[in-house]
Structure formats: structure tokens, C-alpha cells
């Protein structure tokens, strides 16, 4: 009989203080997420020092709540997992030092996890992953296409050369005059508009799976600026729709080309921007047409959470990929380093 693997996981890479207890990599026993968004709204974006201050205020509370909600005690745990990076270094250090102290106090193995691997494995919380697969990660800080031939095998086949999609959404939202974080507002507004602007689509050189969103972003900003200068009224919904069309088209076309070129049948889309209704709808339609199995995590697992970190940690645990008390945070880590 196999013994259960129960992992307490901690995630503090950006502006969510999160802790989860998860059994066997897919059974979420608790998933506590304390968002700092209301605080950062004051500044129109995440301020690293403020984020770190909030994390240290909340970290022991989320750990206790995660254990209580899971009806678990430390004695029931197999290991402690934590996001090692990428992310804001000061923010990461709170989760990492808490994880090290907790693992030391309870004599548990420590498992460092790559944040983006977490976003990919968020899908495992709903269903088993099928390999080989291509994963598109679209979030506030990342836009990456990853090829995985098996568990814990990461090959980055494309990434953004400038802005991340979520970042572009937030900047466009700001010039339209929408509150932070603007992605969901642009998404909502786009449903009432039409693609009248036909903003540029950056496909880059033929065969490239990389992305670039600074062009379309500048184009939106310049268009709005010119129209406002001429005293013309701007229809924000049309701007939102036109921007979203450009982004969705490039993301879906490139991703589906990668799926075809790599001969895979499974596609994962994850990260905060996977919540985008336009992106979801287009992927669903195209994948149905082409017989590709599409997986998108539930909304609550798309944005930052600790359950997804525990989902990866389950596989790392089985491989014995443990960290030491010297574990430190890293603001950037190549996910390919995590290939086992």
C-alpha cells in the first residue's frame, strides 16, 4: 500500500501570501490566499517593499489557517514546499525563510519550486496531465511557451522579448483610464466593442515562437493620444476590443503552430491572463476544430496560489529533489534548470 504524500506549500512571489495543504499532488485539502491587491491599488501597481511588508504580517496566519482548514497537524505532513523564484526577491524571502523555519522545526524535507512550473501544474489540480504537451503561460510577469515531454521536463520554446501579456493589459488599461489591475476590466469592456483599429500583430521572424507586445501597446497609446489631441471622442470599448483581438490572435496562432510542429495533442493554458474570456473562447474553438485536448485551470488556480506549488512539489518529492537550509530566493530562474 502506498503511503499518502501530504505537502504544505507556501507561495509569496508577488502580491499574494498563500499557503496550501495538498495530498498526492492533486487533492487540495486547503488553499489559503491573502491578496494584497487593495493595498497596491493605491499605487497603480505592485510596490515591492510594500508587498514584503504585507507578507511578513500575514505569513504565520496563512500557515496556521492552511493546516486548520485541512484538519492536519505538522505530524501528518511529508514535506514543505516553497516558491524559490522567479518573483520579487524581498517577497520570495518571506516565504522561503518561513518554509525553512517550519521544515527545520518539524524536521521535514524542504522542496524548492519554480513559480512558472506551478502555473503549469495548476492543471493537475483538476485532471491528470497527459504528455507530451505544450503549455502557454500568460501572467503578469511571464509569457512563455513550454514543451514538456514528461513530468518535470521543461523546454522553453518561446517567450516574450519585452512586455508580458498581463503587463501589456495593465498598461493599456491605465491609458484607457481603468483601475488596477486592468486586465479583467479591459476584458469586460472588450465585449461591448468592435475591432475597428486593427492594431499590429507581432509575429516576428518566420518560425519564431517568441512574442512581443510592446508594439501593440505603443500603438494603443499613440492612437489614444492622437485622438485625444484632435479632440475626438475615444470609444474605450473599441480600443479594448481591438487590443484584445491583436493579443488573442498572436497568442493562439503561435501556440497552435507550436502544438502542430511538436506533434502534441495536449495543450495547457495557465497563468492569470488565462482568465481572459476572449483568449479562452478562441482556444476552445480552435482546439475543438483541430482535435487538441485543451486544459485551463479553474479561475482560482490561474492566479497565484500555493496549491499549484504543492502540485509540482509532489513530483519533486518522489524524485527526492530537496533543498537545504541554505535555500535562498532568486528573482529569475530558468525553468529548464528544473528539468529532472
Amino acid at each position: 500500500m502506498n503511503e499518502d504524500i501530504v505537502i504544505l506549500s507556501i507561495e509569496t512571489s508577488c502580491d499574494e501570501t498563500a499557503c496550501s495543504v495538498i495530498r498526492n499532488g492533486n487533492e487540495v485539502l486547503s488553499n489559503i490566499v491573502v491578496s494584497q491587491i487593495d493595498s497596491h491599488k493605491r499605487f497603480g501597481g505592485v510596490v515591492p517593499e510594500v508587498a514584503s511588508r504585507h507578507h511578513v504580517e500575514t505569513i504565520t496566519v496563512v500557515i496556521e489557517e492552511a493546516l486548520e482548514a485541512a484538519r492536519m497537524t505538522p505530524a501528518d505532513l511529508s514535506a514543505v514546499a516553497v516558491t524559490e523564484g522567479p518573483g520579487l526577491i524581498g517577497a520570495l524571502l518571506i516565504g522561503i525563510n518561513a518554509a525553512k523555519a517550519f521544515s527545520f522545526a518539524h524536521d521535514l524535507p524542504l522542496i524548492p519550486v519554480h513559480h512558472i512550473a506551478g502555473h503549469v501544474y495548476a492543471n493537475q489540480l483538476d485532471e491528470e496531465l497527459h504528455f507530451p504537451l505544450v503549455a502557454l503561460i500568460v501572467s503578469g510577469g511571464h509569457t512563455e511557451l513550454i514543451y514538456m515531454k514528461d513530468h518535470l521536463s521543461f523546454e522553453v520554446i518561446g517567450e516574450t522579448r519585452d512586455d508580458a501579456v498581463g503587463e501589456a493589459y495593465d498598461k493599456v488599461a491605465r491609458v484607457i483610464g481603468l483601475p488596477y489591475p486592468g486586465g479583467p476590466h479591459v476584458d469586460r469592456l472588450s465585449k461591448e466593442g468592435h475591432d475597428i483599429y486593427e492594431f499590429p500583430r507581432a509575429y516576428l521572424e518566420p518560425g519564431s515562437y517568441d512574442f512581443s507586445f510592446s508594439g501593440v501597446k505603443s500603438s494603443v497609446i499613440n492612437t489614444l493620444h492622437n485622438q485625444r489631441q484632435k479632440g475626438q471622442e475615444v470609444n474605450a470599448a473599441d480600443v479594448a476590443k481591438s487590443f484584445q483581438e491583436s493579443v488573442v490572435e498572436v497568442l493562439t496562432v503561435k501556440t497552435l503552430r507550436a502544438v502542430k510542429d511538436y506533434g502534441v495533442e495536449n495543450l495547457i493554458v495557465a497563468g492569470g491572463v488565462a482568465a481572459n474570456s476572449g483568449l479562452r473562447a478562441r482556444f476552445e474553438e480552435k482546439c475543438q476544430d483541430e482535435g487538441i485536448k485543451l486544459s485551463v485551470p479553474q479561475l482560482k488556480y490561474c492566479t497565484d496560489n500555493a496549491a499549484m506549488i504543492g502540485a509540482v512539489a509532489y513530483h519533486l518529492y518522489k524524485k527526492g529533489a530537496f533543498g537545504t537550509l541554505e535555500l535562498n530566493g532568486r528573482n529569475t530562474i530558468d525553468i529548464e534548470e528544473y528539468t529532472m
Binding site: R53, V56, E57, E326
Partner: protein, 217 residues
């Protein structure tokens, strides 16, 4: 009673184990290495070399700041999490008071840390067989500090001589933290609620300062 003591609030790092207020083992370093990577290793080493188990620890004392924001948070995060995990009491001590106690100086002492842009974090204490606060700890300009010094007799300036700002100081005594010393002065230890404890930054973040200014205008 076994106390684990932690100070990572500036470049020097100090960890100690005391038994009934007496030092059993301590590690004090001043090297350019991130505390995040070394602190738990040192704590583990202290326990191993003193022959205590984790479960022998009865309470934790942590330097709560002021100091480097990240440094203070590393110590406070570890202290809070360990106290919670081990189910023991948590106490804090001002990082400035740690310097005052560590230096061994008696009389009026004025510990200070670099606060950048001509400012420092400082407080003024009278140390005898007990500890008395004469000027509250704060984020101050050097002028303010000198004015405070004028108000008291024979003040001994305490600073970490490896910090650049000491170049411009009048005569000062080089002092670095030895957190083992603070249990000599129980009056400077403050009992903390584990969940509610936050570092003592003595300064709001730049972003919040700007935001508050904007709200006012």
C-alpha cells in the same frame, strides 16, 4: 530556560543560545553574505554544537529593527515561524538596544545605524545595572542626533565601523551586535503576539509616503 536569539537586522549577524540568561553558544559574523542563506545553517549549528534539540527551546528573542528592511524581515520571519511551529513564546528587542547592550559601554550611549541620505536610525539610552531610554528610537537627521547628544552628559556614540557613514562621525565606539547580551536587561525584552508581530522599520515606505502626500494635496 533555553532561549534562541536572532539578530539579522544589519550586515552583522548574531545568533545565540542562552540557558537561564547565560550564554551557551553564539555565532556572530560580519561578512558580505546574505543572511537568508546562512541564518538557518547557523541556528542548526548552534543547536548541534550545544547539544540541544529543537524541542528544548523555550523561547525566542528576535531583534525587531530598525535596520535593513530585508535583513530585519528575515530574522522576524524566522522567529515568528519557529515560535509558532515550536509552540514557544516570542519576544522582541530593539536592534539599537542590542548594540547598546553588546558594546558593554555604561552611562549614556547612542547606538546608530546608517539610514541613508544623511539620516540615521538612533536612540539614546542610559545603561547601568538596568536600561533606561533617554531619547526614543527613530529615523533622524544627523543634526537632530547631535542636538540630542547636547542634552545629555558624556554620550558614547556606538556605530558599526564598517558602515560608510561612520567616516563623517566624530569619535565613536565600534560596536556590533552580540544578541546573547540582551537577557541581562529583561526590561528591554517585549513579549509579542506571534501572528501580529511586525518589524519595527521606524520609517514608512517611499511609496506610502508619496501616496500620503498626494492624498493631502
Amino acid at each position: 530556560m533555553i532561549t534562541l536569539m536572532i539578530d539579522t537586522s544589519n550586515r552583522p549577524l548574531s545568533v545565540a543560545i542562552n540557558e537561564d540568561g547565560r550564554m551557551v553558544a553564539e555565532i556572530n559574523t560580519t561578512v558580505r553574505k546574505t543572511h537568508s542563506a546562512t541564518i538557518m545553517v547557523h541556528i542548526n549549528h548552534l543547536l548541534e554544537s550545544s547539544g540541544y534539540k529543537r524541542s528544548d527551546i523555550n523561547r525566542i528573542v528576535v531583534a525587531r529593527g530598525p535596520g535593513s528592511y530585508t535583513g530585519v524581515r528575515i530574522g522576524v520571519t524566522i522567529a515568528k515561524t519557529l515560535a509558532q511551529a515550536l509552540g514557544v513564546e516570542l519576544y522582541s528587542v530593539s536592534s539599537l538596544a542590542v548594540i547598546a547592550a553588546s558594546s558593554g559601554a555604561k552611562g549614556n550611549v547612542l547606538p546608530m545605524f546608517d539610514g541613508r541620505r544623511g539620516n540615521v536610525y538612533s536612540g539614546l539610552y542610559h545603561v547601568s545595572d538596568h536600561f533606561e531610554e533617554m531619547e526614543a528610537a527613530g529615523y533622524k537627521s544627523l543634526e537632530t542626533v547631535y542636538e540630542e547628544m547636547e542634552k545629555h552628559e558624556k554620550v558614547c556614540l556606538l556605530a558599526d565601523g564598517s558602515e560608510a557613514f561612520t567616516e563623517n562621525l566624530p569619535k565613536y565606539t565600534h560596536a556590533v551586535p552580540r544578541i546573547t547580551t540582551v537577557e541581562q536587561y529583561p526590561e528591554i525584552l517585549r513579549r509579542e503576539n506571534i501572528h501580529e508581530m511586525v518589524p519595527e522599520y521606524l520609517k514608512i515606505s517611499e511609496a506610502e509616503k508619496n501616496w500620503m502626500n498626494q492624498q493631502q494635496s
